[in-house]
Symmetry: C2
Subunit: 370 residues, 2 copies
């Protein structure tokens, strides 16, 4: 696919993952890359990034095309972004749900819509790529877009499509504007709505502006929902359990109650519930995936993301990873006693962290929440 | 009941509860009271205890008859104790299970048995009172006694009976040898074996040497197992859940997932399992007890004992409170998915604390426990 003009991409997220994602786009040189950088802003603007990457080698002083402090700032001059990549955590019950993060981009784009000629308007599409865990994460973005779809007087804004990204990448911010990438960037990309031909064409276009052959990998996913259920076999079970007990996965297994209870009385029953919900929706996943996920990390002394979050008193992605599957299960009459127990316990811990963060307050004299 | 000679009592335990228990015996003045005191030993021996008690008022410089540093020391001179009160936590999976605590007393008593005349021997009975939570806690003591029952050449040692104590008492050590008792001492006392007439007579005798009318209360319990199941409705549910989420009970309820899940999807289902196991054993407990236990503490901002233990990285009484009920349920074919989930998660946390205490070690290179 050739472009007369470079496309315009915006990466929203922080730290190791977002930086390598932006670097991949920049290396491919088919788009101008804007990044939102908060705490490392001064360092990034002054000196650029120091990157040690398994995909691209050692790089000093790298900068994307533009660096902004906030999403608001990134759209304050009426910038139009062809691709908006969201690599943040997805926490709808937290202070910044994805819809709220995206709102300024959507609103600014619709506001500046009249600046484009009719010819330009025809080809303008905003593609939002949600590189995030969980399931049913696109719903809140669809809601946001629905609300803002009309500019005024019945005139429509640009077309918007939403893509699903599942990224495997071992990349960490080790110091201000300093990134160490140890695991290859492997992006699984697809349209949430497989009947949307425009979305599917955007998957191909994005692959073209993102893939650096021999460095990173892009796999096109034509069964996004199946893939997301599959990933939940790990994320909805091992992830919350390790968070609840605040231990790496190896310890969580080895510190088990009698008869390998961690594996056979918590994790596998919960995993089977995910398989059952997926099946009730028509997505068949083989039971052997459970072995793969348990055995793969058995001796790795690995801390899953939710466990890291709770260890740092940060919010966990419990709604998109557990709440949404359980809500789907209820609709389909699939019983989920194990997932519900994990969710209900994780929910209490989530609220504990919200209190620590000042997001909720308990009035001890009346024993009520404010 | 009158005694020609004072009886000899030994209180094993530490802090607020043991001290008030020893004080009650001393006030009644029908026994010589020995206490085991570890960390506060010097202060207790030199200055005695400073006690602010709702039962006995303000007392300065109180000392029991004798203070020992260890159980071994308390029996090193061939002392015979008519009553041995164990008020320690009951943690069979920890470094000091009750049988190990009692072993020196039992062994020393059997050793010095030949010092008594045949007439003296006839009236000598050791009564062990286990003032502790949980169920089936007497089993390990019976095992210990069975092993040591014979002195030598077929000669039997003293008779031993084991009594059950459930104590409600709000008493805390606030500084070295300084005790603040806010809640009245209410002791529920009974024989584990209701067919043992000797044990039942010892219940009456102990009540006589312990009860200070108008100060403390002794209630005689002729259905010990029923009472212990009843107490487990709280202890096997609210106790481990608050420990797992590391929050007081009010927060555990208020931080609930949707539809009051803490109460209706964790606690009440688990409580019903306790009722079902008790029922399978023939002990009928009314469901209204569940309301009593949940509503009683709903707004009290109260931290249950297991939660306090895990907050301090100490071991919890998970085996006598959860493990034993679940083992009984298995024998009686009563399903316990909720209790098992609480137990299996609490077990992982127990092991986490054991690792912190150096009781288990993980070899990270082989991912095995040592």
């Amino acid at each position: 696919m050739s472009q007369d003009k470079k496309l315009n991409t915006l990466v929203i997220g922080s730290g190791g993952v977002a930086t390598i994602t932006a670097l991949s786009l920049d290396k491919r040189n088919k788009s101008d890359v804007s990044m939102i950088v908060r705490s490392d802003y001064s360092k990034a603007v002054t000196d650029g990034y120091t990157i040690d990457s398994c995909d691209y080698g050692k790089i000093e002083g790298w900068k994307p095309t533009k660096i902004y402090k906030t999403v608001d700032e990134s759209v304050s001059n009426g910038e139009f972004y062809d691709y908006v990549l969201v690599t943040t955590k997805n926490i709808p019950d937290g202070p910044t749900p994805v819809a709220k993060i995206l709102e300024p981009v959507v609103q600014a784009t619709f506001k500046s819509w009249s600046n484009f000629s009719e010819e330009e308007k025809k080809n303008k599409v905003i593609t939002i790529i949600m590189i995030q865990n969980g399931i049913d994460i696109e719903t809140e973005v669809y809601e946001l877009l629905k609300a803002d779809h009309l500019v005024a007087d019945g005139v429509h804004g640009p077309k918007v499509v939403v893509l699903s990204g599942v990224q495997m990448i071992g990349s960490t911010r080790t110091a201000p504007a300093t990134i160490l990438q140890k695991g290859q960037d492997y992006l699984i990309l697809g349209a949430f709505d497989q009947s949307d031909e425009l979305a599917k064409s955007k998957v191909l276009e994005f692959k073209d502006i993102y893939l650096n052959e021999g460095h990173n990998v892009v796999e096109i996913d034509d069964k996004v929902r199946w893939s997301r259920w599959r990933k939940l076999i790990y994320n909805a079970t091992i992830n919350p359990l390790t968070a609840i007990v605040c231990l790496d996965f190896t310890r969580t297994l080895l510190f088990s109650g009698p008869n390998e209870a961690t594996e056979f009385e918590i994790l596998r029953p919960a995993m089977k519930e995910i398989l059952a919900i997926a099946k009730a929706e028509g997505h068949i996943i083989d039971e052997s995936v459970m072995d793969l996920m348990i055995d793969g990390d058995r001796t790795m002394i690995y801390k899953p993301s939710m466990m890291v979050d709770t260890e740092r008193d940060q919010l966990m992605e419990i709604e998109v990873i557990l709440g949404n599957p359980i809500r789907t299960a209820k609709k389909l009459n699939v019983p989920t006693p194990y997932l519900s127990m994990l969710y209900n316990i994780a929910h209490i811990i989530q609220m504990r962290n919200k209190e620590k963060m000042g997001l909720v307050t308990l009035d001890e004299s009346t024993a009520t929440l404010k």
